[in-house]
Amino acid sequence: MAASTAVVQNGRAIITSRLIGTATAIPAYVGWGTGTPVTAVTTADTALQTEDTGGSPAYARVAATSTTQTTTTSTNDTHTVIGTLTCNGTSKTITEAGLFTVASGTGLYIRGVLATAITVALNDSVQFTFNTQITSSVV
């Protein structure tokens, strides 16, 4: 499966909600998944295909840093979130990554299918960086 990613429909609603000042939770939890064969990302996705729920409590998601604006093209046009997940059990093959607003359950903001699966073993960790650049074309 080719790599793909998107701000899903729920994520778009989060952006507009924050713009009007609603206290919607910000996307600050990173999760990973093991979907095999992994399905392509669609904007209608509300979850990872097969999220790793091997953590304690029942999701492996970790709190991430979601307070950073960075510059890709114009000043502060990019929202950056960084989170590190650690394999705390048997080896697994990571094929998906997701950014969520909550530690468990729904709240998907970004789903990504990885270009190449990442195999992790006990105590291996993966630092994921999610960059979302807001752009607007002039046509």
Binding site: T5, A6, Q127, T129, T135, S137, V139
Partner: protein, 52 residues
């Protein structure tokens, strides 16, 4: 005519730290950014006879 673009633009990058301390920077592992050059994009449009 407008070019088809995915917005917002998302990139996910990954750095793996193994239990033995070794580090693998995998770079961008997923993106919706179209990396085709404008010329390539125009050629693709012409080849597919698609205008949008």
């Amino acid at each position: 005519m407008s070019d088809s673009k995915a917005e917002p633009l998302v990139t996910i990058s990954a750095i793996v730290t193994r239990a033995d301390g070794s580090i693998q920077d995998l770079g961008i592992v997923a993106t919706n950014v179209n990396t085709a050059t404008p010329l390539k994009a125009k050629l693709l449009t012409l080849l597919t006879k698609r205008e949008n």
